[in-house]
């Protein structure tokens, strides 16, 4: 669910030192952003998750399918 796709940074393999540093700090930023996004998402899950999860799951029974 990370907002940015995991891409292998080709520049890194071929590229110059400046680019390496630049992309390095960029990916650190990226990582921070992903972490913040995930934190937000986890808080959101708590908001939408059914209350009394245990009871809900226990009571959910389906018979007579197919």
């Amino acid at each position: 669910m990370s907002k940015q796709e995991h891409k292998t940074d080709r520049k890194k393999e071929t590229g110059k030192k400046e680019e390496e540093t630049a992309s390095g700090s960029k990916s650190a930023e990226k990582g921070k952003k992903i972490k913040e996004d995930l934190d937000k998402l986890m808080d959101k899950i708590d908001d939408v998750l059914e209350e009394n999860a245990e009871e809900f799951v226990k009571n959910y029974v389906q018979k007579g399918g197919e």
Binding site: D37, L49, V57, Y60, Q62, G65
Partner: protein, 492 residues
């Protein structure tokens, strides 16, 4: 590539919050009867050609064929403007897509079905009783009761069933690595697992049979083509999961259709026989690292990814030679890309495949809450991932916040709710329903019946699913001012 008729049926799990004594049959009936956009509420489902008790192995099993009286028939069945069907099957609301020829259209029409069911739910919620209905697009209640998601592929009757079986078994056992919906825990007295790739794997107990409800088989032998039975059989696939993620559905249907084409055309398929497919399907489902080998009858061992790769390589060889249409090329590219990433690190697919999206979501939650797999909130997350309500469903929330990749647009899904595909007989069915709602007396997959006030009801057979398309009947249906005119121009 030749056009293949495709379509799916989804049974939805149904629950009512704040109420423990809900009868699932009456609740399901109440639900589907809330749908506000039917062309007509008077249309019957024509059961005449239906016989789910016929087995491809050449016999008919005993059992009661469904023949409800007219009033109950109308209560149970809703023929949709998009050519699909909304109905109650057993104790579940069920939706069948119209007949499609593209895997991507199957994705769109499945999503249109979710939209229809969501509107039913919202309409029911506006009524006083029963309140707070919840629908799940999944396959299990987590307590050993499974409900189905069935794919249908029309195949050439000339292909021996044994040939289909031989090539499909290793394929079905392993395709869950991209088509699984993910599940917390194990069921049906199967070995324990914190998390599984597939919702359904635990329920498959035998290799081949007609059953769909008990002792479920990996290969189902129902022989009910809903079409010219001398020409076609309908492969009824019951081994799959209902997916939320569009890429999972697209690959599940697209790749299966491709494998069927290679079987029909004697393409270069891998020679693989699993030693114990019924055991392997559960082992693959428990192997979330995707590194465990599966034993073949000849002693060789391959991982699930490796087996899928053998099918992929065969497909590359086959479709290099023949004219592949754009969708086939796209499915091939995606299939290859997905298998490559699954081999490296499955977690790379956390925007595309259901079981990985769900696993990443649950793992992040466990990290944050410092809880283990036994926490009841995880089972709730598993269930709620499939919740159709836009404010409550976890997949819906991920989709809204763009945490998952899509291959369709909201606009296409909206369109598909009221408009049939143009390239199958669903076009004729849906267009007649929309244009002449009062005159359509009954419909089924293979027929449409008109009542125009004469002494008899006129039946238009639709035994050839690739006819009745827009290109064959569009101008006739557009210009005709009455059903009489349609019938006379069809020279009936």
């Amino acid at each position: 590539m030749i056009k293949r008729i495709l379509g799916t049926e989804t049974e939805f799990g149904i629950a009512a919050r704040h109420s423990e004594s809900v009868d699932p049959v009456s609740t399901s009936l109440l639900l589907i009867n809330q749908y506000p956009y039917l062309p007509s509420t008077r249309i019957l489902w024509d059961y005449e050609h239906e016989n789910p008790l016929l087995d491809v192995r050449g016999f008919e099993v005993e059992g009661e064929r469904e023949r409800p009286g007219p009033d109950y028939n109308r209560l149970l069945n809703k023929v949709l403007a998009n050519g699909g069907r909304l109905y109650v099957d057993g104790a579940h609301p069920e939706y069948s897509t119209p007949e499609c020829t593209h895997a991507r259209d199957v994705v769109i029409y499945e999503k249109a079905g979710d939209r229809i069911l969501r509107q039913c739910c919202e309409a029911a919620a506006r009524m006083k009783e029963p309140s707070h209905l919840v629908l799940f697009r999944n396959n299990t209640d987590g307590k050993g009761n499974s409900y189905g998601y069935h794919e249908n592929y029309l195949v050439d009757r000339l292909v021996p069933f044994e040939t289909l079986m031989k090539h499909l078994i290793p394929f079905f056992v392993t395709r869950q690595i991209y088509a699984g919906s993910g599940k917390v825990g194990a069921e049906n007295r199967m070995p324990p697992a914190p998390y599984q790739i597939s919702q359904r794997a635990d329920f498959f107990e035998t290799l081949v049979d007609l059953n769909t409800m008990v002792k479920r088989p990996i290969i189902n032998t129902r022989d009910e083509p809903h079409a010219d039975s001398a020409k076609y059989r309908r492969l009824h696939v019951i081994v799959g999961d209902a997916n939320m993620a569009e890429t999972s559905t697209y690959l599940k249907v697209g790749v299966t259709a491709m494998v069927l084409t290679m079987i029909e055309e004697n393409g270069p398929l891998p020679e693989i026989e699993l030693e114990d497919p019924v055991r392997s399907i559960k082992e693959v489902s428990r192997d979330i690292g995707l590194k465990s080998p599966i034993r073949l009858s000849d002693g060789r061992k391959f991982t699930a990814v490796e087996i899928q790769r053998l099918y992929l390589e065969a497909a590359h060889r086959y479709f290099e030679r023949s004219e592949a249409d754009p969708e086939t090329r796209d499915v091939l590219t995606k299939w290859e890309s997905v298998l490559g990433r699954l081999e490296q690190d499955p977690m790379q697919l956390s925007r595309e495949l259901d079981w990985v999206i769900k696993l990443e979501l649950i793992r992040s939650y466990m990290d944050k809450k410092k809880c283990g797999w036994d926490d009841s909130r995880l089972a709730m997350m598993d269930l709620q991932y499939h919740d159709l309500r836009s404010g409550k469903g976890l997949y819906a929330a991920l989709e809204k916040d763009r945490y998952v990749d899509r291959i369709t647009t909201d606009r296409e899904i909206e369109q598909a709710e009221q408009n049939p595909p143009t390239d199958t007989r669903a076009y004729f069915r849906g267009t007649c329903l929309k244009k002449f709602p009062k005159e359509v007396y009954a419909a089924s997959w293979s027929s449409i019946l008109f009542d125009i006030g004469n002494t008899t009801i006129k039946k238009v057979p639709l035994m050839e699913p690739l006819r009745g398309t827009q290109s064959l009947t569009g101008s006739l249906l557009e210009s005709a001012r009455s059903v009489e005119e349609v019938l006379s121009r069809l020279s009936m």
